[in-house]
């Protein structure tokens, strides 16, 4: 589209460069089993799963305005479904992960029907109540170890792949694949009609309503998709841990507090934010984890300071300074005399 040479475009040199760079990094990461040690791969696997959780929470809170402090409900649910489907259903773990996602979507529908009655901050605590209901319910299931939990039987683990190295590699690739799937899904979703509607709602609920955007349906859809994917991530997390218990599966600190800190520090409401936040989070963890409780206090303090002083997070600061967008969502107008762009107007 052009008016006297003006063009409207989504991409920019930076985003194309980022795309190319991202592709190269992705190829290097895929090849990790050939160049990385076992401990490094485990750490990277964890990084990918946290990135997936953070991107999903960001989609809900940063775009759909659904601030949940109860996502551990779906992490734990997915983990327990993996164990149940493989132990009692005899399914291959990889198949079980996909089915855990579907079951996560199914259970999220009645949950949403209830907690969507709560507004704003009360919605947040409502999600927490739900997570507690999940935790207490699974603690009642004696076949899955009740309150003390259970381990994944060795024969199921062995059925995944031949040999420990192959299993570790598969586990790593699943985590990497999950992160790529989630980030790509969030990106494509935000570019879609529904995604644009979401952004419109976030920016102005009243105006969006007057444009006839069905807010409830869009938010509902986001909640269900997020729940499904969070359940899949949860299944993957406990496939790596090989052991599950209600307290570990439904931990508010591990699966929600850390995730929220990652998103806030990186930059809420941007796709890049969770990526940056995850890297910062793990960098801090690997250097400060020995400090134990002090580390958590510092993390909480950093999140509060960022929320008060730079609510758009680290990525927001970078973006404002350099006008960068690596995942082109918005449109920008390119002037005809712009020499920074190689493409001529269409």
């Amino acid at each position: 589209m052009s008016v006297q040479g003006y063009r409207v475009t989504r991409g920019s040199n930076a985003s194309r460069l980022a795309g190319l760079l991202g592709l190269i990094i992705l190829l290097i990461l895929i090849a990790a089993p050939w160049w990385a040690g076992r401990a490094d791969m485990r750490l990277m696997g964890e990084v990918f799963l946290y990135l997936a959780l953070a991107s999903l929470w960001n989609l809900m809170a940063g775009y759909a305005g659904l601030v949940s402090v109860g996502q551990q409900a779906y992490v734990g649910f997915g983990g327990y479904m993996l164990f149940a489907l493989t132990i009692f259903g005899g399914l291959n773990p990889v198949v079980a992960i996909a089915i855990a996602g579907l079951l996560g979507a199914a259970i999220s529908v009645p949950v949403a029907a209830l907690i969507f009655r709560l507004r704003g901050a009360y919605f947040a605590i409502g999600t927490w109540v739900m997570a507690e209901v999940f935790r207490l319910s699974f603690a009642q299931v004696s076949a899955l170890g009740g309150g003390s939990g259970t381990s994944l039987p060795a024969n199921i683990v062995r059925a995944m792949a031949d040999g420990r190295d192959a299993r570790e590699a598969l586990s790593y690739w699943l985590a990497l694949g999950m992160a790529v799937l989630v980030v790509a899904a969030v990106y494509l979703f935000l570019r879609s009609r529904n995604g644009l509607a979401l952004t419109a709602i976030r920016d102005n609920e009243l105006a969006a309503r007057s444009l006839g955007i069905d807010i409830f349906r869009t938010k509902f859809l986001v909640y269900i998709v997020t729940s499904a994917m969070t359940a899949m991530v949860g299944a993957l997390i406990f496939l790596q841990k090989l052991r599950i218990s209600p307290d570990a599966a439904f931990s508010v600190n591990d699966w929600t507090a850390f995730v929220i800190f990652i998103v806030v520090i990186g930059g809420i409401g941007t796709i890049e934010g969770p990526i940056i936040g995850t890297l910062v989070f793990f960098a801090l963890r690997e250097t400060l984890a020995d400090l134990g409780t002090i580390y958590l206090m510092v993390l909480g303090l950093v999140a509060i300071v960022i929320m008060l002083k730079a609510p758009k997070g680290i990525w927001g600061l970078i973006k404002d300074r350099f006008n960068l967008q690596l995942f082109p969502l918005g449109y920008r107008v390119v002037r005809p005399d712009s020499t920074r762009d190689d493409q001529k107007g269409a």
Binding site: I125, T293, I294, M307, P311
Partner: protein, 287 residues
């Protein structure tokens, strides 16, 4: 008779939950703030009570004389120093900042007191009981309930019959116009949080005499308080007491059916009420 006993015990337990809930209800009413760290502040009050009563060698209830003003001061400083900066149209900042506070408070308590469960020594009060017919009721639960009724009556009176309560309602109605009346809303919000945490101090001490506690239990207390507020209906203090009683009864009756069901039964009753009466049992709209 066992069932009657369970119901009465539950109702009395509801008094404790009402004490957890009253502070939440108050700050939501005045400034529409939902404090995720509320439960951790309750636990913090319990630890302050423990330290005070051990250090001075006094009964935990006497420690309230110090813990109430301490918590009130913490509330005022917290509100003016941090929380006032989060208030506005966007709901994310208050939510995420109080969530961060929650994690900080938990870990400060962990650092200071370790993860071992602690308990306050309530002396004879813990075991004393009164016989009503064939029922034997603990003096401590009765006292807790009476104090909860007193606190709620006091808050209600303060809200509708004092200059401070008038200021709270005015700021809650319209912050700009209240400023025109010479009310500094930041100060008023600070006072509201001070009052809320003063009530929290009472709840925390009764919690600490009744059961053992550790730094991780704040989240659960927040949820009980929140459930009591929603069951009772937003903005209704007496409703909050009723909500606490309903939650308490659900828990004790649930525990009677199966000990593992105690907390779950409370959550389920909460969800049922949310499904049937989303605005709570006694909603009060904009008053």
């Amino acid at each position: 008779m066992d069932w009657v006993n369970a119901v009465i015990q539950g109702a009395l337990l509801g008094g404790l939950y009402a004490l957890f809930a009253a502070g939440l209800s108050l700050i939501f009413g005045v400034m529409r703030l939902v404090n995720i760290a509320h439960g951790d502040l309750i636990v913090m009050a319990a630890y302050l009570g423990l330290t005070t009563s051990v250090a001075l060698g006094v009964h935990p209830l006497l420690a309230l004389v110090l813990v109430i003003p301490m918590m009130a001061a913490i509330g005022y400083v917290l509100q003016r120093g941090i929380l006032n900066h989060t208030l506005g149209d966007d709901l994310l900042p208050p939510l995420l900042v109080t969530f961060g506070l929650s994690v900080i408070i938990q870990n400060v308590l962990l650092e200071g007191y370790s993860a071992d469960p602690q308990k306050m020594n309530g002396g004879a009060l813990e075991t004393a009981s009164v016989s009503v017919g064939s029922l034997s009721l603990g003096l401590l639960p009765i006292l807790t309930f009476v104090v909860a009724v007193g606190v709620i009556a006091g808050l209600q009176w303060m809200f509708y019959h004092t200059a401070l309560g008038r200021s709270f309602r005015a700021v809650s109605d319209n912050q700009d116009i209240a400023q025109l009346m010479g009310l500094n809303k930041r100060h008023i919000f600070g006072l509201a949080m001070a009052l809320a945490l003063a009530v929290t101090a009472i709840g925390g001490i009764f919690l600490g005499i009744r059961t053992s506690f550790d730094p991780s239990i704040g989240g659960g207390r927040l949820i009980f308080g929140f459930e009591a507020v929603i069951i009772g209906g937003l903005g209704n203090l007496w409703g909050t007491l009723a909500g606490g009683v309903i939650l308490g009864v659900a828990q004790t009756v649930g525990a009677k059916i199966d000990p593992g069901w105690q907390i779950l039964a409370g959550h389920i009753v909460f969800l049922l009420i949310l499904a049937v009466r989303p605005n709570g049992l006694f909603p009060r709209v904009s008053a």
